[in-house]
């Protein structure tokens, strides 16, 4: 009955308030669920591919560089002891002419059935499955593709398929189709399987392997197998790869979740506000109930249950919404992950019980938490005060005037303490590569500003009073005066809106600064005239490669002053995957413009690297592993572990994992890989860039499938990837703003319902409906202006933490502060207009007030 009186009936009777609150929570939960879902989907896509390719192997001998197949002979003695092994070549490449990235898997088609689950859908054309038809699979141009892949590319048995692997182009023939199971499902079916001997012969990998899959049932054999592993390879479980990828994506994910946290935090404010409003509005009823003998605990429980109901319903709605949102996010982060980290095509979104439970828990628990404080307050109220109706008229004034100094003093004190803690926290180092202290510092800054909310609202409305009266007359004055009159409600709405705006400004500042920094960096780094690449997009740069033979052709072209051949690959450093890059350091030293951190002259760093067989590393690498000029780093080469001195540290924003760069000749010696991913071309003075470009594409295009792009295009492409990466960030912030605006609508609607009598009186005294509505919209403009101003201030503080603490610790990037004025002005304008709309929606309620009724009841 208490529940029905205080909670259930009101929930049904006030559909606007109920819907808005549930929507707010739902949106918050949806964001979290969506991010969890899409993360899971992206990672699962990757790990499933790894598992599908690994098959039944429980160990692998893997290497970042190819190793000799001699090790197979060394493995022979283990066969009688139950160890099964399968040699594999696992290479990335592209299909021409579509340039789609694919995986080429070279396996021993005869013995591999122990390891992987293939089923041939069809082999060659005829129905007779004689031994001869199977033998055709071993033909020196035979490949097997998944039936789905064949279907997508219009391939049939016997169709030619042009593959470009490591810059070697070969036309293969599709001789078999695979059913969609096992490895045929890996990489979304973008996989081509061939006999290992065929792959070795066709793509210049004679005698080489990239991996050996092992089934070892007797763990005690591992140490003796370990002894025969070549120096350039390592023995590990297939799952290690997934773990590494997961670790690599961790900072990225933490950042996403932190952003989702903002949406949730704003949602919490909303629940807090809703429960508080319902307590304030039903204060008198609570008084009556308590007089009639309802206990404090019962009242407390009733309001807590209100929070619970909102939380539970909101969470369930949020999970449904989150599933939809995940789909959108997947398009967005899928691209980011592909561009920056791994190649994986995310698959279907699967709502696991774990995620559902987490979503419900997050929404419900946070709602409960935010309902606790106002519920306690309701429970403790004295019935006599509630009954006489004096409490609500007196208490705010009490806070405001009588003890004016003391609550304000505590608020200011709390804020100062929060800010001091935030400053101290932001000086702490990262924990496990995650800027935990930074995130907590953000929370403290938010708490500090929230503590000041009431002060800011009163101060601002006092300031606005005179101008509002001047501009809008008595309506304006009433509007600015009514905000502090219902201080508690308005200050919470304002705090929520400020928080959302603050985060938005902070992220806009961070992204804007980052973008500007990257733009300056790209302008400086991409100083060459033309880039020659085997494919158009940047994202599949690693799969598409030129053969080294292109060097000779380039050397013959008269208008080229110099060219720098770049090639990168992922290698393990300290059990993390870092990017190992290479280039012609002598050319770069003369023509390039690498932004150096130490030493200040790039030529010194690069020439030293050539002379001493050293490397230069990126700033992110240097920060992450605490290595600088003069230190040595160890990498596994084809000759085993080798140590390289660092001769320079440079700025790099292309990769947060860290980059190690070495001269091309050292790279070829160390990794036996002379393919080229990009050729940076410097033209002789006076040569027209467009003419050069056309001539290059004409001479090298047919032979090497080469595209020439100008530095302007490269810059544009880098910025495009950058913007794509941060699209999700903006999307999440927009969500937070939406939630906050919902909160403002909610608050204003409540204020109107509650002020029915006052509004009716104004109407009776001769105010038109239009005037009342104008007054209400002006009120929300006071709220909007206040929150915007507070949010702007908070945003600057938060962006400082984001840029100098969180980003630096998570990604190792030094960013120069830059205010993207246009972006910030537009987004503030948008939120301000949104807050006006927030006033417009509930102001419709004003029309519905029945004057006679409103005047009659108490």
């Amino acid at each position: 009955m208490i529940l029905r009186a205080l909670v259930l009936r009101p929930i049904l009777r006030e559909p606007l308030r109920t819907t808005l609150t549930i929507l707010g929570i739902a949106v918050g939960v949806a964001v979290v669920v969506a991010i969890a879902l899409s993360n899971q989907s992206a990672l699962r896509a990757f790990s499933e591919s790894v598992d599908a390719v690994a098959g039944r192997a429980n160990y692998q001998i893997v290497s970042d560089v190819a190793f000799s197949e001699d090790v197979l002979r060394a493995l022979q003695p283990f066969w009688p002891r139950g160890v099964r092994f399968a040699p594999v070549i696992d290479a990335e490449g592209i299909v021409e002419p579509s340039l789609q990235p694919i995986r080429l898997l070279g396996v021993d088609l005869l013995s591999d059935l122990h390891f992987r689950d293939y089923r041939y859908a069809s082999v060659v054309t005829s129905g007779k499955e004689s031994a001869a038809t199977y033998l055709s699979l071993f033909g020196n141009d035979s490949v097997v593709v998944p039936a789905t892949f064949a279907h997508d590319h219009g391939l049939h048995l016997g169709s030619p398929l042009i593959l470009n692997i490591h810059g070697v182009r070969r036309t293969m023939i599709v001789r078999g189709l695979l059913e969609a199971r096992g490895p045929a499902t890996a990489f979304n079916g973008a996989i081509v399987i061939a006999d290992i001997a065929v792959v070795q012969a066709a793509f210049g990998l004679e005698g080489k392997l990239t991996r050996i899959d092992l089934i070892v049932n007797d763990e005690s054999l591992i140490p003796s197998i370990q002894r025969i592993v070549p120096p350039s390879a390592r023995l590990e479980r297939p799952s290690r790869r997934n773990e590494r990828v997961e670790k690599m994506l961790r900072a990225f994910r933490v950042n996403l979740f932190a952003l989702a946290g903002v949406a949730l935090l704003v949602g919490m404010f909303l629940v807090y506000n809703t429960v508080l409003i319902s307590i304030l509005r039903r204060g008198k009823d609570v008084g009556v109930l308590k007089t009639l003998g309802t206990s404090a605990t019962q009242v407390f429980a009733a309001f807590l249950i209100e929070g619970l109901v909102f939380g539970a319903v909101g969470s369930v709605a949020g999970i449904a919404l989150g599933r939809g949102l995940a789909w959108v996010i997947l398009r967005l982060i899928g691209r980011t992950i592909n561009a920056l980290y791994i190649n994986s095509t995310p698959e279907a979104i699967e709502l696991t019980p774990g995620i559902v439970a987490a979503g419900i828990a997050v929404g419900t628990i946070l709602s409960l938490l935010s309902a606790i404080q106002p519920s306690i307050e309701a429970a403790q109220l004295r019935p006599s005060l509630l009954l006489s109706g004096t409490v609500w008229r007196r208490q705010p004034r009490r806070q405001d005037q009588t003890q004016a100094s003391s609550p304000h003093r505590t608020q200011i004190l709390v804020a100062i303490v929060c800010f001091v803690i935030a400053v101290l926290l932001s000086r702490l180092p990262a924990w496990n590569g995650i800027a935990v202290a930074g995130y907590v510092a953000v929370l403290f800054v938010v708490a500090g500003f929230s503590a000041l909310a009431a002060l800011i609202v009163t101060g601002a409305s006092r300031l606005l009073r005179a101008p509002y009266r001047a501009a809008f007359g008595i309506v304006g004055e009433l509007a600015s005066a009514s905000i502090p009159a219902s201080l508690r409600r308005t200050s919470i709405a304002s705090a929520a809106l400020s928080l959302a705006i603050g985060m938005m400004v902070a992220v806009a500042l961070m992204v804007g600064s980052f973008r500007e920094t990257v733009r300056v960096w790209v302008d400086q780094t991409v100083s060459s005239d033309l880039w020659l690449r085997p494919a158009k997009g940047l994202s599949n740069a690693d799969s598409a490669l030129f053969p080294n033979a292109i060097s000779a052709d380039l050397a013959r072209i008269p208008f080229i002053a110099a060219f720098d051949r770049a090639r990168g690959r992922g290698v393990l450093y300290d059990d993390d995957r870092v990017l190992l890059a290479s280039g012609d350091f002598a050319v770069a030293a003369r023509f390039g413009d690498l932004p150096m951190i130490a030493p200040s002259k790039q030529s010194e760093a690069l020439l030293n690297a050539i002379a001493r067989n050293g490397v230069v590393v990126s700033e992110s690498f240097s920060l992450k592993y605490n290595k600088g000029v003069g230190d040595d780093i160890a990498l596994t080469t084809i000759h085993g572990r080798r140590s390289f001195p660092i001769t320079g540290v440079y700025r790099d924003y292309s990769n947060d994992r860290g980059v190690v760069a070495m001269d091309r000749s050292l790279f070829i010696r160390s990794f036996d890989d002379d393919a080229i991913s990009t050729v940076v071309i410097y033209l002789k003075p006076g040569i027209d860039r467009d003419t050069a470009r056309r001539s290059l594409e004409a001479t090298l295009g047919p032979k090497y499938h080469a595209f020439a792009v100008t530095n302007g295009e490269i810059r544009g492409e880098v910025m495009k990837i950058f913007d794509q990466t941060f699209l999700i960030t903006y999307a999440l912030l927009a969500v937070a703003i939406v939630v906050a605006v919902l909160g403002v609508i909610n608050t204003l609607a409540a204020l109107i319902l509650e002020r029915k009598r006052e509004l009716a009186l104004l109407r009776v005294l001769g105010m038109t409906v239009a005037q009342v509505r104008r007054m209400l919209v002006l009120e929300s403009s006071v709220l909007g202006l206040t929150s915007t101003a507070a949010g702007l201030a908070m945003g600057y503080v938060l962006s400082w933490i984001l840029i100098y603490v969180i980003n630096k610790q998570s990604f190792g990037w030094t960013i120069a502060f830059h205010t993207p004025v246009r972006l910030i002005v537009t987004s503030l304008a948008v939120t301000f207009v949104a807050s006006l709309v927030a006033g417009l929606v509930p102001s419709r309620l004003a029309r519905r007030i029945d004057l006679a009724m409103a005047m009659k009841a108490e």
Binding site: M1, I2, R4, A5, L6, R9, P10, R13, K284, D285, V288, L289, K290, T291, L292, G293, T294, S295, A296, R382, P383, S384, L387, S388, R394, R397, R398, Q401, T402, M853, A857, E858
Partner: protein, 266 residues
């Protein structure tokens, strides 16, 4: 239920710039079980405050209050809650029905707090509603009732759990004279039929006439200014109204009466 107050004073905590306001000063009272006592005084004299103290809604600043042999002024919050729940029925000037509950649910509320079995609730609520003449309005919500009907529903709620003490604060203050009389008759007849102690606060002499006796309240003291003690004044000495009995008997027929002061809002 017997009510005793010993040297009770009450001050409201200071708000605004002012210091604490003393509203009641040194009040001693003894109301015997089964009495229908009327607290009468001008608006602002402290009647409601006194009633709140008796009704365990508020605690006195000093002094002791006894209901039967319980000293309520020393009980903690949960004990007071139990006391209000079981032993006291309240009738307010502004009715104070819960707007989100219908008439039936409002009246059933005290029973549901006491965990009364469902079947019992139904019959007792029906009985209470019938006794106030609202048997056919059970499913209506308060905003669908007239003032007099709301107050009758409130009375049903006050008596449904048979409390030994019923407190009424200006029960007619918000009603026209006809409805007011009807309510007063109702209270009077409840007093007779249920044998509960009733304390009613009012500023209207006419209403006061319905009680057994009147306790004058002015400026936070009982029995007139300057008088330290108090005395029961026979109600009929104050105003010659038709005897409550005769009113109850003729409740359906309008009784002629001399012009009354219009009920004012407090």
């Amino acid at each position: 239920m017997r009510i005793r107050l010993e040297h009770v004073t009450h001050a409201y905590a200071g708000s605004d710039e002012s210091a604490a306001v003393q509203v009641l000063g040194d009040i001693s009272l003894d109301i015997a079980s089964g009495d229908f006592a009327v607290l009468m005084g001008a608006s602002g004299s402290g009647k409601s405050t006194l009633l709140n103290l008796i009704g365990a809604v508020d605690k006195p600043t000093a002094g002791r209050i006894f209901l039967d042999d319980n000293e309520t002024s020393v009980l903690d919050d949960s004990r007071l809650t139990m006391l209000r729940r079981r032993s006291i029925g309240y009738i307010f000037q502004f009715f104070n029905l819960i707007p989100t509950l219908n008439v039936f649910e409002n009246v059933a509320f005290p029973l549901s707090l006491a965990n009364t079995p469902r079947s019992d609730v139904k019959s007792r609520v029906a009985e209470a509603l019938a006794s106030v003449g609202l048997g056919n309005r059970a499913t209506h919500f308060p905003n669908e009732l007239s003032g007099g009907e709301m107050q009758r529903a409130a009375i049903a709620r006050a008596v449904v759990h048979n409390p030994p003490l019923i407190l009424a604060d200006e029960p007619t203050g918000n009603l026209d004279s006809r409805n007011g009389e009807m309510i007063l008759d109702l209270i009077r007849s409840i007093h007779k039929s249920r044998r509960a102690t009733i304390v009613m606060a009012t500023h209207s002499e006419r209403a006061a006439a319905y009680g057994d006796y009147v306790i004058g309240v002015s400026d936070g003291r009982v029995g007139g200014v300057g008088s330290g003690g108090w005395e029961k004044e026979p109600a009929r000495d104050h105003y010659s109204a038709p005897s409550p009995e005769s009113v109850a008997e003729n409740a359906s027929t309008p009784t002629p009466h001399p012009p009354l002061p219009t009920p004012r809002k407090q």
